[in-house]
Symmetry: C2
Amino acid sequence: MNRDVVLGVDIGGTYTKYGLVDQAGRIFLEDEISTRDYKVIEDFIIALHRHLDAHTDRKKDGFVIRGIGIGAPNGNYYTGSIEYPPNLVWKGKIELVKLIEKEFGIPAVLTNDANAAALGELLFGAAKGLDHFIMITLGTGLGSGLVVNGELIYGSDGFAGELGHVRAVDNGRQCGCGKRGCLETYVSATGIKRTVFELLAEETTESEFRKITFSRLSPRMITTLAEKGDPIAIKAFEKTGFLLGRSLADSVAHISPSKIFLFGGLAKAGRWIINPTKRSMEEHLLPIYRDKIDIVPSALLSRNIAVLGAAALIWKHLDQEAGR
Amino acid sequence: MNRDVVLGVDIGGTYTKYGLVDQAGRIFLEDEISTRDYKVIEDFIIALHRHLDAHTDRKKDGFVIRGIGIGAPNGNYYTGSIEYPPNLVWKGKIELVKLIEKEFGIPAVLTNDANAAALGELLFGAAKGLDHFIMITLGTGLGSGLVVNGELIYGSDGFAGELGHVRAVDNGRQCGCGKRGCLETYVSATGIKRTVFELLAEETTESEFRKITFSRLSPRMITTLAEKGDPIAIKAFEKTGFLLGRSLADSVAHISPSKIFLFGGLAKAGRWIINPTKRSMEEHLLPIYRDKIDIVPSALLSRNIAVLGAAALIWKHLDQEAGR
């Protein structure tokens, strides 16, 4: 029996994860290859193809791969190119969709990883049937995908939804983008680490963090210490949530979503991050928006949302092509 | 010969303007009645109907009014109600569409005034064919309409696009909404007046403004004095543009529009407001968005955009109903 699937690919700076995903969001194969090892994009694509073939005897398993969806940093839906990615080995403008379609001979679609996550939630997660929502992905940085009228916003240039770079604090922390005070310098795995170290500098409070280096510190450790009652850990979450909630209040004033989803390592902190974020958002909302908007962890928190999202992207594309 | 038109109605705190508008955006009749004089909404609607009849002999002129579009503060597209308007004589939730349809016997649609302005620009102005743009209306306050994928964003509750209440300054000026630092407390007719008076307090510079009361001061006077080289006037525009541009950079990070339109008294200041806004927006934009986005005065600056916009709203609705 033949089984229609798509290939969902999530390109990260270090690893590229992929999986075969059917229209119900079931993943039949999930694996990864190194991104960094392939200095030339063409070599990476050939490696991906071989790796996939080696792990699937498609004929035997009856998989029919209908298309390829890709999530990648700075991936542009309109152009099909990865444009000037700061954290990938490939530089400049990489015509990924063109190269992938040439190698695999099936349709491919690209967007950035946070947009893919939003689509994953929309097709396979807790955003099913929602017309207006925001997905916030909290990784090394902060990514976002905005859905309006049931459609992801790509904007005029394919780069809409960069909430990691809205102004969280006037003249605030230095950001990798060249600006100051960007939201992701406070709200992300790196951001909360910076906050922990800022608090260690500002306060004299005893804390387990005084024995941990910046490099070793992880969001999971901050959650663990918060649960043990460490005052610096609790304060770090409070500050992170305050700034995220305050910025989200402004995002609500733009698109008025019914729900906001959090995904990524920091989202796994659950109530430690959700509660202060909610409190701060409500405090900063225009009265007409109050007590209406849910902030919840992604329903796909324990699954590979980027692969699912990339799969959602190409399923959506194939459906549109078929006029469904 | 019969001429198909719609009635566009712009309800303001003091006056209600209306006009008959055809599908090409030509206005055949334009007049106004008092809003404030009618303490009861039903009386207002009857007055509007009589006033319209008195000024048009519809049979003779051959006008066939197909529907009614209404722009009003806190007008909600989904519910057809004006909800808790701060500046109208009618309080609470006013079921305007229901009442209007009952009185006139034709379809009616409602949204807020800034959304109507965005639709006016989209159907009859310089936004024709644009998929992604922002309309900023600068009146007593700051209103906005956001268009994405060629459609106005109403959001989950009908209240999307309240950019007047994003955080322009941390712990800034008191706003009528109960918050502090909202964009409209700086960028609006009232906002720039407050800035002029702040500058008069902070600086010792000689200025014509030292002879003018707060109540008498208007945006037009600030423009006139800027043109005469008054340093306070020029600085007031600089500061207003700086804050508007900085906030717009964050709006771009949400929906990535190709154009931003300014409408209203303050927009008539032309380069005095446009230039510092552009400069500041470019400075605060994430690099990928730079040098792409136009900020321009509305093409309908000298026309009644709110009436045209309300007309655009109902034309769009009638087209959708007809499946066009």
